[in-house]
């Protein structure tokens, strides 16, 4: 498929991104570059200096809301992408409302409890929507352990082992690899669907 044909398909698609940190910001940017028509992004957080080691934000955005900055950054890359931003903490009540029209949902939270909550909520309310989740991307090196595997309608990206800790921080290269692996999986779902 030529890029023009790919763009024609992708511009009709909507992807939800739950969380705009290391996974969400990088995944959203990759999807915007290839021309996904609509991105629905949600996060409650503001940008801190410590986020800049991996998240798609800039020094002059410290202290501002992640969702509005990500929307602005995406606009600078590809103004044709429609970005719907929700500044809120996602929970089991608002997730079905916000993401029910999405072709795919990307799980991009940092905490295990939130990942679990999203999977259970989606299962109960929007069970037919594919979920692309990020599991295990702390530290550095060990590129070969990163993988994608499918479990029914859940697509798991990461090493499924390395949890973040003080001695195993999340860093741009490996977080970016998993974020882009998630974006790549989204394309696989959207384009193979045709």
């Amino acid at each position: 498929m030529r890029f023009n044909q790919i763009k024609e398909i992708l511009k009709t698609k909507t992807v939800g991104i739950a969380g705009c940190g290391g996974l969400g910001s990088n995944c959203a940017v990759a999807l915007a570059r290839v021309g996904v028509g609509k991105l629905i992004i949600a996060d409650f957080d503001i940008i801190e200096e410590s986020n800049l080691n991996r998240q798609y934000y800039f020094q002059n955005q410290i202290g501002q809301k992640k969702v509005s900055c990500l929307k602005g950054n995406i606009y600078l890359i590809n103004p044709d992408v429609e970005v719907i931003d929700h500044e809120l903490k996602l929970d089991s009540k608002n997730i079905p409302e916000i993401f029910h029209n999405c072709d795919v949902i990307v799980e991009a939270f940092d905490k295990a409890e939130m990942k679990n909550m999203l999977i259970e909520t989606a299962y109960d309310h929007i069970p037919d929507t594919p979920l692309v989740i990020g599991l295990g991307m702390a530290g550095w090196g060990d590129s070969n352990s990163l993988h994608m595997r499918k479990s029914h309608n859940i697509y798991i990206c990461g090493d499924e082992v390395k949890e973040i800790s003080d001695s195993m921080p999340p860093l741009a290269p490996r977080v970016g690899m998993v974020a882009n692996m998630q974006a790549n999986t989204v394309l696989e779902i959207l384009l193979n669907d045709q």
């Binding site: 969380g19 295990a112 679990n116 259970e120 599991l135 390395k162 977080v175």
Partner: protein
């Protein structure tokens, strides 16, 4: 019984096990897990009663912080 556990074939000596028993037998001590039997989500409070029998497809996904 023979089941599929995380996309791999596994054999257990018993004909039926609960999810709690499988976790114990496999020595899975993860704090947070998403568990499915034949695609049906098994919530935490159902682990003691949810039964796995021959031919079942069991998915145990370990939730890990980071993102």
């Amino acid at each position: 019984m023979n089941i599929i556990l995380n996309n791999r074939a596994e054999s257990f000596s018993k004909d039926m096990l609960t999810i709690t028993e499988i976790l114990k037998e496999k020595n899975y001590t993860f704090k947070m897990m998403v568990i499915k039997i034949n695609g049906k989500l098994i919530k935490k409070h159902e682990r003691d009663t949810a039964q796995v029998v021959d031919g079942d497809d069991v998915q145990i996904i370990h939730m890990i912080s980071g993102g």
